[in-house]
């Protein structure tokens, strides 16, 4: 299950959906808005998603993780909107009988989601400048 959420993520409720008597391991990843990126002080982050395709592509990533690793369940929720420092941008939770599969799958899901899911983030800096991450082009005076 992969969802885009305009509302704050509620990790406790999400994690309860993973409960399974066969599960011996639960690994979660949370991405938080941090106060610096590549040396620049960050004040806040805007996330924007192309939601229908993001949920499709995210769902494919979760399905791939279930094929590759011996999982019992896997969920990823990605926030959109204007987030302040310390807010949760993404939550991934997986359960498995054994911890190796749970760690590997959790990492697979977040790595692939960051690389493939159509979500963009714009950093707002203390200087007043902003930048869409990964969208700078050679010659621009922007964040590489």
């Amino acid at each position: 299950m992969f969802k885009i959420s305009p509302e704050p993520i509620a990790p406790a409720a999400l994690q309860r959906t993973l409960a399974d008597a066969r599960a011996g391991a639960c690994v979660t990843f949370e991405g938080w808005v941090r106060n610096r990126n590549e040396g620049q002080p960050v004040l806040s982050l805007e996330y924007e998603a192309y939601a229908p395709l993001a949920e499709k592509e995210g769902g494919r990533i979760v399905a791939e993780a279930r094929e590759r690793f011996a999982l019992l369940s896997a969920v990823c929720v990605h926030r959109v909107g204007h987030l302040q420092l310390g807010e949760m941008a993404v939550w991934v939770g997986v359960t498995a009988e054994h911890r190796g599969a749970a760690f590997d799958a959790c990492r697979y899901i977040i790595d692939e989601a960051k690389a493939r899911v159509p979500i963009w983030k714009k950093e707002h800096y203390a200087s007043g400048a902003t930048a869409w991450i990964n969208c700078a082009v050679r010659g621009e005076h922007a964040i590489p």
Partner: protein, 80 residues
């Protein structure tokens, strides 16, 4: 000429100044359409850094566009 609906996100939405538009074009592929729109609106991202989606699925930049398609140009992603 075909008529397509184009949706813009992130940096493209800001550079275009709107989130979607309906337009008539002679472009037969997403790549050709992006080139046309980039020239018109000054998009900074070169075509080789953009992916295309049609009707909510990724497609090759050389796919054929059809009348009524909903086209999205996808800047480099940065989730998480």
């Amino acid at each position: 000429m075909i008529t397509v609906n184009v949706q813009y996100f992130a940096i493209l939405r800001e550079q275009r100044g709107l989130a979607q538009e309906r337009l008539a074009t002679a472009a037969g592929t997403p790549e050709a359409l992006y080139g046309e729109l980039r020239a018109r609106h000054g998009f900074t991202l070169p075509a080789d850094r953009i992916r295309a989606a049609v009707n909510d699925e990724f497609v090759a930049s050389s796919a054929s566009l059809r009348d009524g398609d909903r086209v999205v140009f996808i800047p480099p992603v940065a989730g998480g």
